[in-house]
């Protein structure tokens, strides 16, 4: 297990290195450097001299690899630069907004794991029944509905028409727990819809696949009751393929959180990202991308761990 762990960790670091190069390049390879972009935003006319001064100030006159090294060092020391738009340090902006996004992820976990998983199990057991058909069709609709439209429809129904939930805005949990939950129900539901549908389908097909395996027959031949067959013999192997797709789907969850925060005007990390992209606020964009990549790598690492725990063939060679 240790070997396996070390291997996954090293691998994640390699990918992190490649991603950081990619992100670093995006801002530099494409037309216009950050200064010019900033200049375009903030200054109407910029003469050469001022620009050159600025370039030196931002270190843009140094060789590319030095710039990269400085950028990486700065990132790890919390020097994430200042936003062109607000002039605020990006690091502070990020940590102020993080709790909102984390709360959103918690909601996603609730909807997709606590609703999607059980529905998948039910539908596998009731396969080819009306219930199965209902669950399966709900799932595929959930997968197909675009986040933005789902948000619009829900806002109209529950905020404009019935006025149950606030249409947008955010109240911190520490300030007013009740209102906090009220304002998070719709966003988390929208974020969870797609993945809940996905997981439901994965769980269903994976469980059906496992139940058709020879070793399930062996377990039955031993005289195990049906419940024991499922809990002891089917559950763990059925989770293996599901766990792997959680890692792959995680990118979708992050994308979704960006859109959800935008639609419901939640002051989270994704909203910051979308605003920064629209404003071509390079320091914020770079930091956002790098943090997103870190998020994804961390979740994938967790998935690898879980995978190793579930499957001894991976753990013990």
């Amino acid at each position: 297990m240790k070997r396996y762990l070390a291997k996954r960790l090293l691998y994640a670091l390699l990918i992190l290195f490649l991603v950081s190069i990619l992100i670093f390049s995006i801002a530099r390879l494409l037309p216009g450097d950050p200064i010019q972009a900033a200049a375009m935003m903030n200054m109407d006319l910029a003469n050469e001299e001022i620009i050159n001064d600025l370039r030196a100030q931002f270190g843009l006159d140094r060789p590319v690899h030095v710039q990269y090294a400085v950028w990486v060092k700065d990132f790890f020391t919390g020097e994430w630069g200042t936003s062109f738009g607000s002039g605020e340090p990006v690091f502070e902006m990020f940590f102020r907004r993080l709790p909102v996004t984390l709360e959103l992820f918690a909601g996603y976990v609730f909807w997709s794991f606590f609703i999607g998983f059980p529905l998948g199990v039910i539908s596998a057991f009731k396969r080819n029944t009306v219930l199965d058909a209902a669950i399966t069709s709900t799932a595929i609709i959930g997968i197909s509905v675009p986040v933005i439209w789902e948000a619009i429809v829900l806002i109209y129904l529950f905020s404009v028409y019935f006025q149950i939930f606030p249409p947008s805005g955010y109240v911190p949990f520490s300030e007013n727990p009740m209102e906090n939950i009220l304002c998070m129900i719709m966003p988390t539901f929208v974020l969870g819809t797609h993945t809940a549908g996905m997981y439901m389908r994965y769980v269903r097909s994976s469980l059906l696949e496992v139940l058709g395996q020879d070793y399930i027959r062996t377990a039955r031949a031993k005289g195990l009751k049906e419940m024991a067959v499922i809990m002891r013999h089917a559950a763990k192997p059925a989770m293996i393929p599901v766990v792997t797709v959680i890692g792959i789907d995680w990118g979708y969850v992050i994308s979704g959180s960006f859109l959800v925060e935008y639609m419901f005007a939640l002051p989270g990390f994704g909203r910051m990202g979308i605003d920064a992209i629209a404003a071509r606020d390079y320091p914020v964009i770079q930091a956002t991308l790098l943090i997103v990549a870190l998020f994804i790598l961390m979740v994938n690492l967790a998935v690898d761990l879980l995978y190793g725990y579930l499957d001894p063939r991976v753990r013990i060679k």
Binding site: Q213, D214, R217, T218, R220, A221, K222, G223, D311, I316
Partner: protein, 323 residues
């Protein structure tokens, strides 16, 4: 000899894309305590399905036991409740499956799997069952069994996995052991080791053994009586000695003539059975073997023959008396 099991008129049907398939069609046979019964036939002849249906392990759907009774110790297993059948599985009747690779759960250790029947049927605590599992593995000659008990199936070789399967099947000292192609996937030297071991262990406990195989040699070496199956039916039933000396059904005769034997002297051409094995979804009228049969008469194409006695303990399902 006491009758342990009797199967009467058992039929199992499968619904498939190309229609209803009679995988097992009105078969009847008996099993006595302590004897070894061989069921021989080619792939798709229904030999495995008939064995699985003894423990009602046919996946439903698509399969269904449509007819017959299976009397075990006077009780019809087909009418038994779920609890009762679970009580018999792995306890009174155990099964050893063909593919030791896929028949063991890859995410549970060998020990966890071997001790399970004891915990279910003997109400043993985990610790006691685990100790018993080590013993069971020792009995099937797994070296260093105390340590290897915590290994996972992928760390075992094919032969070792099958040993573990045998250990698992025998832990509760069942009355009947059904071995479904137990050594087909294994090398000949391992095959000989395992079958001899199985035979020896069943002799020790007095259990009856059903060996299902396509290999005529294995039957000859280990079985006391033989059922020959073709296209879902039993076409010949006899004691092993009698069957090999005087095969009477044209299919059995053909099968024996088509297999090269180690003790044949000269290089003679084999005499194959012409044609293809039948498609169960599209069986010919009458006797299913008639299109490939060189002794066929008109009646064969019209009407399927029933088993009939031709001498003591020797039955065939054929209209013709081959000399």
């Amino acid at each position: 000899m006491t009758k342990l099991l009797s199967v009467n008129n058992l039929s199992v049907h499968f619904s498939t894309g190309s229609g209803m398939v009679k995988a097992v069609d009105h078969i009847s046979y008996e099993l006595n305590a302590g004897e070894t019964l061989g069921i021989v036939g080619e792939s798709g002849c229904g030999k495995s399905v008939s064995a699985l249906s003894l423990l009602r392990l046919i996946p439903n759907p698509p399969g269904k036991i449509v007819n017959g009774e299976i009397l075990f110790e006077g009780k019809d297993l087909l009418k038994a409740g779920k609890e009762e059948i679970c009580d018999i599985r792995g306890n009174k009747i155990a099964m050893i499956f063909q593919e030791p690779m896929t028949s063991l759960n890859p995410v549970l250790s060998i020990g966890q799997q071997v001790r399970e029947p004891l915990m279910v049927h003997r109400q043993m605590k985990k610790k006691q069952a685990a100790a018993e599992a080590v013993n069971a593995l020792k009995k099937v000659h797994i070296p260093d069994s105390g340590k290897r008990v915590s290994d996972y199936p992928h760390q075992f070789s094919g032969g070792m996995r099958q040993r573990a399967m045998i250990a698992m099947g025998l832990t509760c000292a069942p009355k009947i052991i059904i071995a479904d192609e137990p050594t087909t996937a294994l090398d000949v030297t391992i095959q000989a080791q395992l079958l001899t071991l199985m035979k020896q262990l069943t002799l020790e406990t007095g259990a009856a053994l059903i060996i299902i195989t396509h290999n005529l040699g294995i039957i000859a070496r280990y079985a006391d009586r033989v059922n020959v199956m073709y296209a879902g039916r039993i076409v010949e039933k006899a004691s092993a000695a009698d069957l090999y000396k005087h095969p009477k059904h044209p299919y059995t005769i053909g099968l024996m003539a088509s297999v090269p034997k180690l003790d044949q002297d000269v290089k003679t051409r084999l005499q194959p059975i012409e044609g293809q094995p039948p498609d169960l979804a599209d069986l010919p009228e009458g006797c299913a073997f008639h299109p490939r049969c060189r002794y066929r008469i008109e009646q064969c194409c019209a009407e399927a023959p029933q088993l009939r006695n031709i001498s003591d303990e020797h039955e065939i399902a054929c209209w013709v008396d081959v000399k």
